[in-house]
């Protein structure tokens, strides 16, 4: 075996956390992760060390999550995230004047590579993603983590491209504000 099964067990909490973010349902998240771990254990020769073990396992998890999304599509559409919608709209209003000008320019975020070297940054990023309202968080993860394109997202969520782009803008804006508050602005 090209990997140690214990490595898999160590990964489990992180996998569950990723899955729960995407599916917003702990039971389904656990299912997806269990299916992933089974798939990895049942086909040990599939991991040929073309990438890190973690990347390989996450790749399988992404497929399982997509399957779950397709299966659960109808249930997900029944829940309307009204509070999230309202608070997103409020947030956008707060950042611009009525004439559409930005209220302030954020300070520069400095050297990206330096920031991306810090593990603590990714912990903060994860927290900011967790804080996104349900609908925006979901589409953001579909786009940026599952790496679905606009067409695929629109099919999965049954929304228009324009709709998707508006939601993604809100997600990115909210994320940007959170990172500014918790990371970039927090270091004096």
């Amino acid at each position: 075996m090209a990997f140690d099964p214990r490595q898999l067990e160590i990964l489990r909490p992180q996998l569950v956390r990723f899955a729960a973010l995407q599916l917003r349902n702990d039971a389904l998240a656990e299912d997806a992760v269990s299916e992933t771990m089974l798939a990895v254990l049942e086909h040990p020769d599939r991991f040929q060390e073309q990438s890190s073990f973690k990347t390989y396992v996450i790749g399988i998890l992404k497929h399982k999550l997509l399957d779950q999304l397709r299966r659960g599509k109808r249930e997900v559409q029944l829940s309307i995230d009204e509070d999230g919608d309202r608070s997103d709209a409020d947030m956008m209003d707060a950042l611009f004047t009525p004439a559409g000008h930005a209220l302030e320019a954020a300070p520069s975020w400095g050297n990206p590579d330096e920031t991306l070297e810090r593990k603590e940054f990714f912990d903060i990023l994860q927290l900011c993603i967790d804080k996104l309202p349900a609908k925006t968080g979901r589409i953001f993860m579909m786009r940026e983590w599952l790496e679905l394109d606009t067409d695929a997202i629109c099919k999965e969520l049954d929304i228009t491209a324009a709709n998707a782009w508006v939601l993604l803008h809100r997600a990115r804006t909210r994320l940007k504000e959170c990172l500014q508050l918790t990371w970039f602005g927090a270091k004096a």
Partner: protein
């Protein structure tokens, strides 16, 4: 003379919008550029706005950074 700005319902109809988009529309378009190719004229209008707007230039950099960060999230 600037053209009348209609409420933004869709970012794919540009003819009746203002010639140079304001910050709110620019930032929406910058975000959209991460998901699909903007038409060349729209890109040009956004670029003109960016020439004189620090806030939106920063936002553009922040978008690029967040994308990079997401690509690294969960990978070692």
């Amino acid at each position: 003379m600037l053209m009348q700005c209609l409420p933004s319902l869709s970012f794919t109809f540009m003819p009746y919008k203002r010639l140079i988009p304001h910050c709110r529309d620019t930032q929406q378009l910058l975000s959209q550029a991460q998901d699909s190719n903007l038409p060349p004229l729209t890109r040009a209008r956004v670029r003109i706005h960016l020439w004189t707007c620090t806030a939106c230039t920063r936002f553009s950099q922040q978008l690029a950074f967040m994308r990079q960060a997401m690509q690294r999230l969960g990978k070692d």
